[in-house]
């Protein structure tokens, strides 16, 4: 099984008529994702390579029965687009937009929690989600993923998500679902949400977790793992050598004072029984070893 999405998930793309929306939306469709519509205000009635475009999310949902949305619009419009998706009846929103102001993210997150408790937001500033062979929403290249499980991947970083997929796929180890939660300060979906879903998914046998400096989400995940997780977890945390006080690209990747260091996160994860590795390659090798042992067992 996969988490959050599957082969039946119907997806609309908010921003399908833009350059990025068109590129990634069509790639997602080519992968086999049920991309059933696009939304661009004022362009309703047109189409993008055969995909119908609607003026609003509500119209698109009414016409297509979509439950998921892929938000690929510029930062200043992204918060409104997310709320429009929720208002329109979408229950799973993937927002890849990078550069949304932190205050907008905080307001949007809290509005979703309060007004739309059934809605899950993935991102912003994330690569999206791929369940190999079933559904790909976002910007992950489908050909580096391998269907069939048994590994679930959750990652805060985009390129390291690809690296993790690649390390496993190239050794013949498949994935159930790979979730990029993004590196922003207020992510809609966090490590624990994904770990819990993987723990509950019978086809996921082990989880790869990629963290990075900043915040305390990895530490919180470690606590959750200690008390709830029965499946093996392999982890890598980027940024051991990052200097304090400097944002490393992601808005959330900053060591403030003594908080948010990679070492503290690695220590917390190791104490929770997680296999903590020093680099992505080592993490891949460790996971391959675990999967082989599980298969034998």
């Amino acid at each position: 099984m996969s988490i959050f999405v599957d082969e039946n998930t119907k997806v609309i793309v908010q921003g399908l008529t833009g350059g990025q929306g068109r590129f990634h939306g069509l790639r997602n469709r080519d992968y086999g994702t049920k991309v059933v519509g696009g939304v661009t205000p004022g362009k309703g009635g047109t189409d993008v390579d055969g995909i119908p475009v609607f003026n609003s999310v509500a119209e698109a949902v009414a016409a297509t029965g979509a439950t998921a949305s892929f938000v690929v619009v510029p930062p200043r419009f992204a918060a409104d687009a997310i709320i429009e998706a929720a208002q329109g009846g979408i229950t799973f929103i993937v927002c890849i937009t990078e550069g949304i102001p932190a205050h907008d993210e905080a307001v949007t997150y809290n509005r979703l929690v309060e007004e739309f408790p059934g809605v899950r937001l993935l991102g912003p500033n994330c690569p999206g989600i791929i369940s190999p062979g079933k559904c790909n929403i976002g910007i992950t290249s489908g050909d580096i993923a391998l269907a069939g499980g048994p590994v679930g991947i959750v990652s805060r970083s985009g390129t390291l998500t690809y690296q993790a997929l690649y390390e496993l796929s190239s050794q013949g180890v498949g994935q159930t679902t790979c979730v990029g939660i993004g590196g922003d300060p207020v992510p809609g979906t966090n490590f624990i949400d994904c770990l819990a879903a993987f723990e509950a998914d019978p086809e996921t046998k082990a989880v790869m977790m990629i963290g990075e400096i900043g915040g305390s989400e990895e530490e919180r995940a470690a606590e959750w793992i200690t008390t709830h997780m029965t499946k093996p977890v392999v982890s890598y945390v980027a940024g051991v050598t990052a200097p304090p006080g400097r944002k490393m690209g992601h808005a959330g990747a900053i060591i403030s004072g003594s908080k948010g260091t990679a070492q503290a996160k690695m220590d917390a994860l190791a104490a929770a029984g997680v296999h903590v590795c020093q680099n992505p390659t080592e993490a891949g090798e460790k996971m391959v070893e675990i999967v082989k042992a599980l298969a034998l067992g």
Partner: protein
């Protein structure tokens, strides 16, 4: 973007937060002119983005022009933990009855705003938090509801600010919160917030970090940008639109994606080297971006080798390979370049480079191999 104290105070003033009258000075003469305007005694404060300037002799009281000339002359050019003082903030000296602390920031685990208020200001809040956590009144603020005067009043009571300060402090906190939210700050901190013997409350210092993602709605931030960084490498990278942070090592780093770039630094470190920089070229790296990246890295005299670490997702490795060749035809790079290319169209990318490989243009199959090679070359 971190602001200098004087910029933070100017930003506070926009939101009606009372600060001491003052002005900036880059020379002793300018300092005297500011002091003449605001009146003696004045405080001369070094403008550097680093803590501990008081202990380093970067803050002095001047009772008259002679003292001001002496202190301003001494502080200008002073090196405070590697930061050379080029600018002073001269402000009217305030008599201090009590010192408080106030700040707003994002409470990431709870996804709310966090206000911190303490009657024990003037010292590092981390120290207070450690030694006497009860002295800090924490307030969780729902971003959908904000902070109103009634809540601010209850908060100053809880923090046990002096009676004489409470009403003014509550009003100031509401304005500071507005500065934090409407002003798109990641951090708005006042330490100390003071009560004067004649009963006035105002901000004696200002620590402001702006959220650069919000620059599109703050044209007024343009003036802060000019003074943002003094590192010439970072200035150059900024002009070229690159996400670059200067470090102290000798292996230049180019990677796509922040996570991979961080990971590249880590791996270089693990194999015994040290990175000269963090540089994320982002997605869709074309020849222009690659040329700019190589140019910035090459401008750093410490760089002995360059490690280009690309994992093609949306970025196509063949485009990166073309970019590298085109960049090399435009800029002369003497340091050897080690490339690790994987992901989308990696085979085509490596094929494009094959005919051009040499002692100074090398590919390695994995991230670890490439790191080892780049580090060995830097040490050779």
């Amino acid at each position: 973007m971190d602001l200098f104290e004087y910029q933070g105070k100017q930003y506070f003033a926009r939101y009606g937060i009372p600060v001491s009258p003052g002005g900036v000075a880059d020379t002793v003469e300018q300092a005297v002119a500011v002091a003449d305007e605001v009146g003696y005694p004045v405080v001369v404060k070094a403008q550097v983005k680093v803590g501990g300037r008081g202990k380093a002799g970067g803050v002095k009281l001047a009772a008259d022009e002679d003292e001001l000339r002496l202190h301003a002359g001494n502080i200008l050019g002073l090196d405070i933990k590697g930061h050379v003082v080029h600018r002073l903030w001269i402000e009217r000296s305030s008599d201090i009855a009590r010192e408080y602390y106030a700040s707003f920031t994002l409470d990431r685990p709870n996804k709310k705003h966090l206000g911190m208020l303490s009657a024990q200001g003037g010292v590092e809040i981390e120290v207070v938090a450690e030694e006497n956590p009860d002295a800090i009144a924490m307030l969780s603020i729902d971003p959908l509801r904000g902070l109103d005067l009634a809540a601010a009043r209850a908060w100053v009571d809880e923090a046990t600010l002096d009676e004489a300060a409470r009403e003014q402090a509550a009003a100031l906190l509401v304005r500071l919160y507005e500065c934090y939210t409407k002003g798109d700050c990641d951090l708005a901190e006042v330490n100390p917030l003071i009560l004067t013997p004649d009963g006035r409350v105002h901000a004696l210092d200002a620590k402001v970090t702006l959220d650069e993602n919000a620059s599109f709605r703050h044209p007024e931030w343009e003036e802060f940008r000019a003074t943002e960084t003094e590192d010439p490498r970072e200035k150059m990278a900024k002009e070229k639109g690159l996400n670059y942070i200067g470090l102290d090592g000798d292996v230049g780093i180019i990677a796509n994606g922040a996570g991979l770039a961080m990971s590249t630094l880590d791996v270089v470190n693990q194999v015994g080297g040290s990175a000269a920089n963090f540089l994320d070229i982002g997605g869709g790296a074309n020849a222009d971006v690659m040329a700019a990246a190589l140019e910035v890295i090459h401008s750093d005299p410490k760089v002995k080798s360059i490690f280009v670490n690309i994992f093609g997702g949306i970025t196509r490795v063949d485009e990166v390979a073309k970019g590298v060749l085109e960049a090399l035809s435009r800029v002369t790079i003497t340091a050897p370049i080690v490339l690790r290319l994987d992901g989308t169209n990696a085979t085509q990318g490596r094929a494009i480079l094959a005919a051009h490989l040499s002692d100074t243009l090398i590919t390695e199959p994995t991230m670890l191999d490439a790191a080892r090679r780049a580090v060995a070359l830097a040490k050779a």
